[in-house]
């Protein structure tokens, strides 16, 4: 369990303040041109302006929406298919090797293929996000189901559990730690691909706005967009970690 430490809070805030100060000093001294690299005050100003009425708020929502939709789609398909494949040794023997072959394929490499079929559209980005986020979740689910303690299979046989009961009451909870960890990874991938997709296909969202800002040399807006993306990533990751800890309460005990 993480213990809250006052010393850590002070040190952490102190270091962060130093970091921001260094940022300010570098930009004030114009070591890098302000066209490329804004100082913290201008970034903050752009952030506030953009979110409180500027286009940035709606763009943020677009990106978040895209990310979540693709991620949810991938999660459902990944866990469902993963469960089906994972519980059956025969299915694993036939399917898992092909999946392993496909695993090293970068999702971004699928972007041209998706463009070929769907053009530069929102659907294209969605498909790419879902495809990219699918792999870790599918593979983790299969692995989680396959790795169930063999003793529990024997227990389920003696108790006379039906196949559905074994999957729902034993295999799924047993695979849960792996599945939940992969969901977090999937969300990170979803965010990345959402941004890439938006940049490439010029779809509404933070990716496109950052690109536009960079092209018109509006560096504070660009950096504000980067900050927001970082925030989305942080919040999403924290929320899932929290959910993971709640659902896996029984694990914390043994630590």
């Amino acid at each position: 369990m993480k213990h809250f430490s006052l010393r850590k809070l002070f040190l952490g805030c102190g270091a962060l303040a130093l970091f921001i100060l260094a940022w300010k000093l570098v930009t004030d001294a114009k070591l890098v041109s302000p066209i490329f690299f804004p100082g913290p005050e201008r970034t903050y100003a752009a952030l506030v302006k953009g979110l409180s009425g500027g286009a940035m708020l709606s763009q943020t929502l677009e990106t978040v929406q895209r990310m979540l939709l693709g991620w949810l789609l991938a999660s459902f398909v990944g866990v469902f298919l993963g469960a089906l494949i994972g519980v059956s040794r025969r299915a694993r023997a036939f399917i898992a090797p092909t999946l392993e072959l496909l695993r090293p394929l970068p999702a971004s490499a699928m972007i041209p293929i998706a463009i070929a079929f769907l053009g530069f559209s929102d659907n294209m980005v969605l498909v790419v996000i879902a495809f990219g986020a699918l792999w870790p979740m599918l593979l983790a689910t299969i692995h989680g189901f396959a790795a169930m303690e063999p003793r529990l299979y024997e227990v389920s046989a003696v108790l006379g559990l039906s196949r559905a009961q074994v999957i729902w009451k034993l295999a799924l909870p047993s695979a849960m730690p792996m599945i939940l960890a992969s969901l977090r990874l999937g969300l990170t991938i979803s965010l990345i691909l959402a941004v890439v997709g938006e940049m490439l296909a010029s779809r509404q969202g933070l990716g496109q706005s950052i690109l536009a800002a960079s092209r018109s040399f509006r560096s504070p807006d660009q950096f504000a967009g980067i900050v927001i993306l970082g925030a989305i990533g942080l919040v999403g990751s924290r929320l899932l970690s929290f959910a993971e800890r709640r659902l896996l309460r029984w694990q914390a005990v043994s630590r």
């Binding site: 850590k8 270091a15 962060l16 560096s219 990533g233």
Partner: protein, 258 residues
Amino acid sequence: MRAAGLLKNGWRAALLPVTLVVLAQVTATVTQLESDTLASPFDIARAFVSVAADGSLLRATLDTLKAAAAGCILGVGAGSLLGIVLGLSRLADDALDLTIELLRPVPVVALIPVVMMLLGFGAEMEIVIIGLGLLWPSVVLARAAVKEVEPRLMEVSSVLQLGFLARLTKIVLPAILPQLFMSLKLAAGYALVVAVTVEITANPVGLGYGIMMAQQALRPAEMFAYLIWIGAIGWLISLLLNSAQRAFFPVFVKGEGR
């Protein structure tokens, strides 16, 4: 579950992909496929041979791999160094934790426009992006590896009154070498992914650019050929690193991978 697993499962493993390829070819032949988006397996093979023969595939592969390797060394090197420092120094760890937690979640692709403004197109930009992308995961892994070093060993080093440098080189580094290699293995795969992504979005060289160009030029066979090639490269790198891991760190392999 790499090459050994594939061979063991033998025919079962091959059945699905072979069936799909055969089906695809049959469908393409029967429907006399002429399309801007689809290609038959034969056409893909022909396209592959053609880009391999004229040297463009090799050039693109080298460009991508060079950038990926350089970015890997940069990112894993810098990240591991920082991670080791954080692992050894409680002060640094407590102080920098907050800042790193805030910097880490930024998707590296968002930084492409920034880096592109500073460095323009080209290999340096790609290497920097790859390095940045690998930085934080390497920090996290190296830090965790240092924290996992058997405390007993640290006590021994105190008793022997080893200086900081001696402790680092004689105890910490050898102890975390397996984990560092693991970190490198993960990084290599990720480096390839980031490289291809950068090439697709921004940098007009390499395999990513190749696949994008093929699509833009409405040459689906070439596009799929590049796609399969990228996957094959990724698989090959992973295979090589796994073999290396088995050769140099045999004990480690038992625990991972089924």
